[in-house]
């Protein structure tokens, strides 16, 4: 059995860990509020953008001449995956969930004999993927320096993707991120951004007659690159809200667990203290008796 001193040390170390997790929880909670607000504010832009593109693509019937970003390069050989994770750890299953989802997709792609390319956004994703998919990762991007998610960063990623697409380095592009539902639930998402062709069910939903100035395909070819940056930006916003939410609940759990541990250790400490006292008493009494 551990000595009294050892127990005392353990109790105080668990207590200080608890202090840290508690502080992290508070910080995450206040950051979460901001991130959540930002995510909600950013939604109208991407929703409207989606709507407009949907309307535009409805008006395009000639698949062959429409922009490549919309219909794809016509092949399905090289898959580019953008895996978006956080730069910091200690946020529960946040990164692991994205990676899990992405790995499923990777396996499917590789089993079909296609070529897989990966871009990781956020350093944690790179750390987790480098062991198994080192040779597939073509680029790693991290925005550790930027304090808040901003459109400028998203635009950078978007430009890299478009640049690679124009050089015909890949045919299909998908992004992986966590969608923020609420503090305890974040849903890992897989979203195809190239080709963007809307599915049939969505197509029939809106039928408006618009006037276009200039022509549809010219607007589209201007709009699509922007849309990619917008989608990336949306993913980044959702991700940052999810990260804070996930960290908050993880740290909440950790604080609670530490509390339980302190209780248990305290009971153990008191028991062994009492045992020691009893032992001493018995020794004294039996010593006195023998006289």
């Amino acid at each position: 059995m551990a000595s009294l001193d050892d127990l005392k040390k353990r109790i105080s170390s668990v207590k200080s860990t608890q202090k840290i997790t508690k502080a992290m929880k508070m910080v995450a909670a206040s950051k979460l509020r901001r991130a959540q607000e930002n995510a909600e504010k950013g939604r109208p832009y991407s929703d409207k953008m989606n709507n407009i593109i949907l309307n535009l693509s409805n008006n395009i019937t000639d698949d062959e001449n429409s922009p490549k970003l919309l219909v794809g390069s016509g092949e399905d050989k090289v898959h580019l995956c953008i895996v978006m994770t956080s730069d910091r750890g200690l946020c529960g299953g946040f990164n692991t969930n994205i990676i899990k989802k992405a790995k499923l997709y990777f396996q499917k792609v590789l089993e079909e004999g296609k070529i897989l390319k990966i871009i990781t956004v956020g350093s944690k994703g790179y750390d987790q993927l480098k062991r198994a998919y080192k040779e597939n990762i073509i680029e790693k991007i991290s925005f550790k320096e930027s304090k808040y998610v901003n459109y400028f960063d998203a635009d950078k990623v978007g430009k890299i993707i478009i640049d690679k697409f124009e050089k015909k380095e890949f045919d299909v592009c998908a992004i992986f991120y966590n969608q923020f539902k609420n503090v305890i639930t974040q849903i890992p998402q897989e979203q195809k951004i190239i080709p963007l062709k809307a599915s049939e069910s969505e197509r029939s939903s809106s039928e408006d007659n618009y006037e276009f100035e200039p022509e549809e395909d010219e607007i589209l070819s201007n709009l699509l690159p922007k849309n990619i940056s917008t989608q990336i930006f949306k993913a980044m916003l959702e991700n940052s809200a999810s990260e804070q939410g996930s960290r908050m609940s993880a740290m909440d759990n950790a604080t609670r667990n530490a509390g339980e541990m302190v209780d248990k250790l305290t009971i153990q400490y008191n028991r062994s203290r009492q045992a020691a006292i009893t032992k001493e008493l018995i020794e004294i009494i039996s010593g006195a008796e023998s006289l």
Partner: protein
């Protein structure tokens, strides 16, 4: 029934401006300035650098935009843009920085005519802002 329409300007971070009962909006569309009044036909167009003018009754507001998309439908005008600021609180230093940046971009060799035109246009607009 009012005699205006709704205007919403959104940028990626947030909803920049939301107004009801706007009488007229003039946007710098790609193929020339375009004034939009109530009951305009549904239209989608995109913007070049320029000034958006918003008229509400007798009031007038002006914004500088760099790019964007306009959508008008059922008397709702939405403008999506990534760069916008109110002309009332211009930061002249910032404008100057963006002028020099644009000039730098313009001095690159591999530009097509359309891009050159757009950049030149942007400089012109930015300079005119700083004069006022």
């Amino acid at each position: 029934m009012s005699d205006g329409f709704n205007l919403e300007i959104v940028n990626p971070e947030k909803s920049f401006l939301s107004l009801e009962n706007v009488t007229e909006v003039v946007v710098p569309a790609f193929e020339g300035e375009m004034g939009i009044l109530k009951d305009h036909i549904s239209i989608i167009s995109f913007l070049k650098p320029g000034i958006i003018k918003v008229f509400t009754g007798s009031e007038e507001e002006k914004f500088y935009v760099e790019d964007g998309i306009v959508e008008f439908k059922d008397n709702n005008l939405s403008i999506l843009t990534s760069h916008i600021f109110d002309l009332k609180n211009v930061n002249k230093d910032k404008v100057n920085i963006s002028i020099t940046e644009t000039e730098k971009e313009l001095s690159k060799d591999d530009l097509d005519d359309q891009k050159k035109f757009l950049l030149n246009h942007k400089i012109e607009i930015l300079k005119s802002i700083n004069l006022n």
